[in-house]
Structures are given as structure tokens and as C-alpha cells.
Symmetry: C2
Subunit: 106 residues, 2 copies
């Protein structure tokens, strides 16, 4: 399993950002082919002084890097990327990651 | 659901770091009371130039901030934190996050 991770720093207008993110951008993201799971988290603090706390982080899961690359090249992926750059290009950093270990504790 | 997220930048000796992380530190982390799920990811690239790609990121899930705070104050939490600062204090940033939306796509 791999992820596309989008880390957003705090925007100048958080209310307008959230409005666009949840009502327009996230629905576009969810149309990306091959998406198998997503998780949106809101940074809420840190036990360390001076830590950078992301405002919002989106984790988009795909079965493989091939599936993720194909999704980013699809019409739906291009539409999501275009919207991202227009509304949050100055706030977002993207990276890819592989899940190396994960488990639910029963 | 909330998370404690540990973001590690690339260490000077990745082989020694991985050896300690997976054989010593992660087992200590898994003993923390109230841990309900974990996910370890390895940064693998970025579609953006000059993006900071985390070397390793650990997501530790708890039912609530109360449960997470209690876990960090427990003997097991203190043992994991002590080990963390000793082997990776110069590489790690910690933050808390709340899961605001997440779903499996069936």
C-alpha cells in the first residue's frame, strides 16, 4: 500500500480554506481512480516546543505506485491537481510514502 | 480518533537508525496503553520539486486526547519517549492530530 500525502500549513483565511477544501476539493479527490482509502487529519498541538504543526493533512491510499501514478495522470487526477494548485498552491506540500508496517490492535 | 505523529528526517546513518527503530523503539511504542492502531510509512518521493520528504513517519492512534495523554504519562509511554530522545532526538518532530474524516472505499 502507498499514499499520496498532502500537508497544508495554516492558510491566511482558515474559514474560506475549509469551505473550499471540504465542499469542493475533497469531493474532487475522492473521484480519483484507484483510491482505496483516505484519512483527513487536523493538527491539534505538540508535546515539543517550536514544532511545526500541520493545519490539515490528507492521506490518500492506493494499492501501488503504479496505481497512484495512473490516478494522477487520469482526467480526475488532473482536475484535483488543478483545483489544488488554484486554491492552496502556496500552502501545500505533497509527498509519496510506502506503508512499511501497520496493524489494528485488538 | 486522535494520533500522535512522529516525523523523522533522514538520519546520518539510516541502517543503524532502522535497526534501532524496528528492533527496539517500535516494540517499546507498541506497549503504550490505549494504542488502538499504528501505521509506519517510509517517504519515497514527491511530485513537487524541492519538497521535504520525511524519511519515516509513525502514526499512533488513540481513541481520544485523554487516552493519548494518559498513555504518554504511563511508565510505558515514558520508556518510549526516553528511548526516542536518546536515539533520534535530533531527527524527530512530534505533533498531535484529530481524524476529521476517513473512509475505506469499497
Amino acid at each position: 500500500m502507498v499514499k499520496l500525502v498532502a500537508v497544508y500549513r495554516k492558510p491566511e483565511d482558515p474559514k474560506a480554506f475549509d469551505e473550499h477544501y471540504f465542499k469542493a476539493h475533497l469531493p474532487l479527490t475522492k473521484k480519483m481512480p484507484g483510491l482505496v482509502r483516505w484519512e483527513i487529519e487536523r493538527g491539534s498541538g505538540s508535546p515539543m516546543p517550536n514544532a511545526e504543526i500541520p493545519y490539515l493533512t490528507a492521506h490518500l491510499y492506493f494499492d501501488s505506485m503504479d496505481a497512484l501514478n495512473a490516478s494522477m495522470k487520469s482526467d480526475q487526477g488532473k482536475a484535483a491537481a488543478k483545483d489544488l494548485m488554484e486554491f492552496a498552491g502556496q500552502y501545500v506540500k505533497l509527498y509519496f510514502a510506502e506503508i512499511v508496517e501497520g496493524e489494528e490492535v485488538i
